[in-house]
């Protein structure tokens, strides 16, 4: 009994790590721009594909051993994926922001960007699924009936390190201070000599970079890639971010693990087809009970 509990907790931590890493990106962008970046789930998918191409290139063309390839793949994937995120910001969101368009239009644009990423991928690469190459040998450890792999541990540790890093960036650095300032008052910030656009670009770099990292880890854990893989997981990570209280780094992190835990527990006790039904119902209940999420601050409106 205890073993299966610990086993489920480890699985929940791993599954929640993906949600948490993606939710961090949602929440960073939302915190700064109050924009729901609906393309983020698909940026995650693009990240997984970029990791696939980089890894295949390293392994077959350069002929590197797996662990060297992995060391190269991690930064390259993060950089290339953040380029995708920044490109979206530069060509789709920024012109709208400069025109002072209603934020709903930016949300629609983001939704459309996500669709374009999905279907362009499908149209260019075809519907066949890609198998991600093996970078490191998966080793299975068994301690007292609890099995876990080195990959699972790596995923969980990466998620925690990413959270600590982002939390440090937002709370301790000058850029983080500027981010918080923008989310506090967007109009006063340029008057204080803070370069608004650069900070926003940095936000997108951070968010998309970690989505790319999540894509890489996901591809290593579940080595089958398909164009729609980002859609459902992206929506769910967004819901996790909202449940945690969107705009708050801690909220996104905890929301991600909460969602992961709920899903794993549902699968442990019910048929696995009930997973979406029950986890979404739980989230609906949380949002009805606490409309701004767990860490969110209720906003007061002035008339």
């Amino acid at each position: 009994m205890l073993e299966s509990l610990i086993q489920n907790i480890i699985n929940a931590l791993q599954w929640g790590s993906f949600y948490a890493l993606i939710a961090l990106g949602y929440t960073l962008v939302y915190g700064v721009l109050t924009l729901i970046n609906f393309a983020h789930g698909d940026v995650f998918m693009v990240g997984a594909y970029i990791a696939f191409f980089v890894a295949t290139f390293c392994l077959t063309v350069l002929g590197l051993p797996g662990w060297v390839a992995l060391i190269l793949v991690i930064p390259l994937t993060m950089i290339l994926t953040s380029l995708v995120g920044v490109t979206l910001e530069r060509i789709a969101y920024r012109p709208l922001r400069k025109k002072g368009a209603h934020r709903l239009y930016v949300v629609i644009t983001a939704l459309m960007c996500g669709l374009i990423l999905e279907h362009a991928n499908l149209a260019i690469l075809g519907a066949s699924r890609k198998a991600f190459p093996v970078l490191i040998e998966v080793q299975v450890y068994n301690i007292g009936g609890v099995t876990f792999t080195n990959l699972k541990i790596a995923v969980i540790v990466t998620a925690f390190l990413s959270f600590l890093f982002l939390h440090w960036v937002v709370t301790k650095t000058r850029i983080g201070m500027a981010m918080r300032a923008i989310s506090y008052d967007k109009f006063a910030v340029p008057l204080m000599g803070i370069p608004l656009d650069q900070i926003i670009v940095v936000t997108f770099i951070l968010g998309s970079g970690f989505a790319g990292l999540a894509g890489l880890l996901f591809a290593m854990s579940y080595p089958v890639l398909e164009p729609y893989m980002g859609a459902l997981i992206g929506w769910k990570a967004f819901i996790a971010a909202v449940v945690g209280g969107i705009g708050d780094i801690r909220g996104a992190f905890i929301g991600g693990f909460l969602l992961g835990a709920v899903e794993i527990m549902v699968v442990a006790f019910f048929p696995s087809t009930f997973r979406d039904l029950i986890s979404f119902s739980v989230l609906l209940a949380i949002l009805t009970w606490k409309p701004t999420g767990l860490f969110g601050i209720a906003q007061t409106t002035k008339i």
Binding site: I108, L111, M112, L115, L122, A123, W235, D276, L284, I303
Partner: protein
Amino acid sequence: MLQRYSVHLILALSGGLLVYLADQEYLSLYTMSVLMFMGVNVILSASLNLVNGYMGEFSCGHAGFMCVGAYVSSLLGVWLFAKDKVFGAALLNPEYALYAFPFVILAGGIAAALAGLLVAVPSYKTRGDYLAIITIAVNYIIISAIENIGAIGGSRGFMGMKRLVNSMEDIIELPWMPIWVFIFTVFSIWLIRRYVSSTFGKGVSAICQDEVAAEIMSVNTNKMKTITFMLSAGLAGIAGGLFAYILGYVNPGSFNIMKSTEVLVMVYLGGMGSLTGSILSAVLFTFMLEGFRFIIPLVNDFAHQVHLIPDSYDISPVWRWVLIPLLLIILMQFRPEGIMGNRELKDIFPRLKKFYRFK
């Protein structure tokens, strides 16, 4: 006189023409089904416009309500009037199918309206992005609930509605599906128009302008939201019921978030808070979707002939799902208010006011 009855006249003429063309089989089956889906899309985009445009909320789970309507009306119809392996023999004589059909569709609408409560009740306290997430969650909840009911087919879907359509045509030899789609489309547009232009319905625009101020000005915002969400969801359910009977087959997968996005695209293409815009964009969008089906193979052949692309690569029809969002992004950049903005036809052409009245 002309001003008073011109809309009725146009509707009667176009409806009559449509039925005549369908009855004489001047239009192919494909053209008919595209026209019918156009009607369904008009209902969908107009009903979502009620929430997203007139009330200013951001609902992105409209397909969920469509799903409820589709399943309830198909189950009810098949249970009552058709022999089926799930329900066994028909409960009533199939001769009554024709007269009961509108009620079957309306029952689907009512069920969807009740499902709309799932969004309406949280919307009392929740606003903006948080409400958007609730609508997405409701969409997923509805779909996966139906997927888990094995008795009605689960994720394999449910069929048998064609038998009902056939038994309607046995009673009176007319193309009944186009007729019902036409009637329900006009009914939905009329209902929405009546609702938003009524004194009571002004509260919807008041909520859009400023919810807190509306409440202070004695608009019962909770009641307003409940009714608007339920009306919108109910009309989506009607659209879903028609959709199910046109196809003769439903499965939960066709009402996923992708379908909701399609409806969103139609609303924002047409313009928020404009019924004319919604109708126009639904028609345009359906044409575009079907048009690309023909244009893309043509482009593909042409590109192969002039050796623009390598022989091994074909331009797949998936590209239409790249082009349509791209079109919308460009639209958002240069004309974010959509085709019509929040204006109706008579605001753009004031002279038309002399010739028609539509309330």
